[in-house]
Subunit: 558 residues, 2 copies
């Protein structure tokens, strides 16, 4: 496959993505509906068949040698082990192979790199349904969400990063004849500007969004000329392995070294992330995961001048002040609390409400009545036989389930209790409905840290102003990926916006239909503010791509 | 003064600078010649008069209150104390005032911020001649160089940073109505994207280039919405004080808080830089200076997730392999070694030459003959009564002079010895001619660290390949701002280029006329590769501006 052909083939896609990145309008290169009309009538059946055939078998789509045997410890939160094994490659071999693969890749033009990567995404997209089942049975998401989050939505985020990286590199001339007038004569220097990638880009993934949170860093690293080592969470390897396999295959088709992009699979008992972080050849690290290990990664990297893009954890907040439609409001919020059992980094946790209730069309509604409404809408959603189980999905990690029972045992009054939720067809699925507790603002000892999972708090405060103060302080102290405000008063909306933006988190107002605060749309929403303790990465602003390389000049007397 | 008027007034300047940044062609907004025809016939006399009137007097052009009295310890390297005092402001007051000034500034558009800053540069440029004398008598540079380095060249670097910061912020829509087709209906969200600066941008300056090395970070920080505190070197306050004064005055003229940009003057005995670095409100730090304090700044900042742009120190190298014209080559190199007594971060130090000499038009010239040629050209330059003293200038720091005598006492054979150089009109000037020593490559214990000042080494190696290996390793281990290669063989040039670029330093080839490796041209040359131990900052690539702010989204149900 000629790279020049790929440049032609993907020129329009790249241009459209670049334009969308600038304009922030709606854009989706891959349709989000898992529909046979779009992806082929047999696509779902084929994907499910591929998934079933893969169970209890070695993963065949990587070009890496299994230098140290095989490894694989994945279990479906729906209640069965996957039994898939992956080639195990030692840290030294990973670094050696990445280093060897770099030179030819960084010598390509940004056009060439971007086009090869878009081809890899297009070939990977043929496996969206298998990726969907793989994601469902590693993360515990319901199938439709799994399809979207690891398929079209993730691939759009990857394309976004490719387009941003390409645009940044292309915005400066690669060579110029510089001529300086010196009065009676001129002097000329022939200059070229070379892109020098930082080295190896390590991407450390998480268990809940193994593709969505991995591909932005992975493709940003690749498009800017770096070699990439993807270190997935040991519990969620399969979905991203398909993507890495697609990249390796396309690299090989282009006559490039497929070891430019490697998968580094480890186990819970013998983790290799820190060893990889410490490799001198690793210049950039993308990290998604818990804040305690994240802090270690950041410290290690900072001590050696490495670039880190982090997404750790935050405490997302909601303010209830006023609304025109209490049912639409509570329906939207109920969905955000229920979706994937609160295991999204963007899911709300702390809902602040003034002690004297909220205003609905000029009428005061008490905290008790609001709580009841919220409960009704959650009950209706999770109790819906068709939509409930697939919306809630299952709990990825046993520790998250324990956290639900721990919260339930706090002694706080419950807006609604959590309970087991049957998942049809999966008797052993680990699935529970959302727990919502009530707390007074004085119980910051309880609510002012992340309760990852389907756990939220309805917290009474003195007033709207008090709610805004609590939210702003919480963002500054504990970080946040999202915040949501229900308020119909323009002055209060501006007050909340200014306070929340100044604290460093994005804010959404009055969501009441088919957009939820948990969602972050590629090409439009910057995901991760980058300026609060939840992390420093933003998908995909300029710094997300421009910190992965330098431009170094060559000057020749002309 | 209306900001909208400034936007109109400076639109074309901003557009030209932005275009030059992209194309990297020659561009200079301010002419570099200190000529009366350009700057007005009385400009030089007026500037000198202003300088003389300022001696032994309080500096009057800052709008800051002298909360804690005054301070000032500058001495001219030409041999007299300046006796200028500046308002002293405590760290708490600096931070408090910067914080108060931020809100209104960050609420402006990038267009408005850029235009206010260009107006400040234009008003500051009226003081180029005073800035020149102020720079001469703090850094020790000759007047013409002082005029250029702190005047037009520095201001062009500032304009470059303003244009890059403006372009980055303007390249993404500030608001959009996002409409997602959902099949039978659409959903719409009104989105705005707000620029959130990192906080206070601290800029720590150095004694040798108090304006040139300060204004890029200062103006990059300001254009991206940050408040700025400039902490100059205690020995070189005066030139940058004029610039800060001009910024404050224009802010005031625009009805903005002049405390957005403050000068923090300290003394050698009571330094405040680290105290400023540790302030929680400080989010970005620009540092130019020695590597040991630089490492402390970097560690402190990294521990608290702050952004640092550093330019520390490196060991710049030259390779002599072959040339068509030995005299032009040695003349160019002699100038680079002599200019401002080697006190430029870009000045060459280690000159590698194969043991069996170099090729000149096919003929072999021995190391001894090359050394002799180099000596002759340095002698001719520094011995020139007209050009010599002003080219060499004086030695900023007593410690640099001691280093010359230390090097002279190493026992290495000298290509040429250093000696006192009279500076006409200044009997007590601290000025010496360049010292060039010979060393074998085995004496890496001597030459493999920075000898800041007019000290260089002609180092014999086994071969061209050996020279390239030494240079690449030196860049990786000790950093470099520049490298220079004289070579007429295309294959060898490519070999050197690839090795040096891979090691992370820029490279210049065969400079033989009126461009010198020490020089770095605004809008064209990226200064500081950013990928070797000499520092992580590059004037002014995308990361130099995009790391100073975040973009945070506001979404409203539409």
């Amino acid at each position: 496959m000629h790279i020049s052909e790929l440049i032609d083939r993907h020129r329009e896609t790249l241009a459209s993505a670049t334009a969308a990145n600038a304009q922030r309008t709606f854009f989706a290169h891959w349709p989000e509906a898992p529909s046979g009309k779009i992806y082929g009538e047999s696509a779902n059946a084929d994907g499910e068949a591929a998934f079933k055939a893969q169970l209890n078998a070695p993963f065949p789509h990587l070009l890496q040698m299994a230098e140290e045997g095989t490894v694989g410890v994945e279990t479906s939160p729906y209640g069965f082990p996957l039994g898939i094994t992956y080639p195990k490659v030692g840290v030294d071999a990973l670094v050696r192979q990445a280093t060897a693969a770099r030179t030819a890749w960084q010598a390509l033009t940004p056009d060439a790199r971007a086009s090869v990567l878009i081809e890899a995404l297009e070939q990977g997209a043929r496996h969206f349904f298998e990726i969907g089942y793989a994601t469902m049975h590693t993360t515990g998401q319901g199938f439709v969400m799994a399809f979207q989050s690891s398929g079209p939505h993730a691939f759009d985020r990857a394309l976004e990063a490719v387009a941003m990286g390409h645009a940044a590199q292309s915005s400066v001339a690669s060579d110029v004849l510089w001529t300086k007038p010196m009065g009676k004569f001129d002097v000329s220097i022939a200059k070229t500007f070379r892109i020098v990638p930082k080295g190896i880009n390590l991407v450390i993934g998480c268990s809940t969004f193994p593709v969505w949170n991995t591909v932005p860093g992975m493709f940003a690293g690749l498009v800017t000329g770096n070699a990439v080592i993807v270190k997935p969470h040991p519990g969620a390897v399969y979905p991203i392995a398909i993507v890495v396999g697609a990249v390796q295959r396309v690299l090989q088709q282009c006559g490039l070294d497929p070891m430019l992009c490697q998968l580094a699979v480890d186990t819970f008992d013998a983790p290799i992330a820190l060893d990889l972080v410490r490799q001198p050849a690793v210049g950039v690290i993308d990290y998604t995961g818990g804040p305690s290990f994240g802090a270690i990664v950041e410290r290690e990297a900072a001590a050696h001048g490495k670039i880190v893009f982090s997404e750790k954890a935050g405490v997302n907040t909601v303010i209830l002040d006023s609304t025109d439609n209490i049912d639409k409001t509570m329906s939207n919020l109920a969905f955000s609390l229920s979706l994937y059992g609160g295991q999204m980094c963007t899911a709300p946790q702390n809902i602040f409400i003034p002690r004297d209730g909220i205003t609905v069309n000029g009428e005061r509604i008490s905290v008790e009545d609001v709580a009841l409404k919220l409960r009704e809408h959650i009950d209706a959603l999770v109790g819906n036989e068709k939509a409930g189980p697939s919306t809630v999905g299952t709990i990825q990690n046993e520790a998250t389930l324990s956290r639900v029972w721990e919260a339930q045992g706090l002694g706080l009054p419950a807006v609604r209790e959590s309970a087991a939720l049957p998942q049809p067809g999966f008797d052993k699925a680990r699935s529970v409905t959302p727990l919502v507790l009530r707390a007074d603002k004085t119980r910051s000892d309880v609510y002012e840290h992340e309760w990852f999972g389907p756990i939220s708090f309805l917290i009474t405060v003195d007033s709207f102003d008090d709610a805004v103060d609590h939210v702003a302080r919480s963002i500054r102290d504990h970080g946040a990926l999202t915040s949501l405000v229900y308020c119909t008063d323009q002055a209060r909306m501006q007050q909340a916006e200014d306070a929340i933006i100044a604290a460093g988190a994005p804010v959404a107002f009055n969501f009441n239909s088919f957009v939820w605060v948990n969602q972050s749309a590629a090409f439009s929403d910057f995901h991760g503010a980058g300026c609060n303790p939840a992390g420093n990465a933003t998908f995909a602003d300029w710094s997300f791509v421009t910190n992965r390389y330098n431009i170094v000049g060559v000057r020749k007397q002309a």
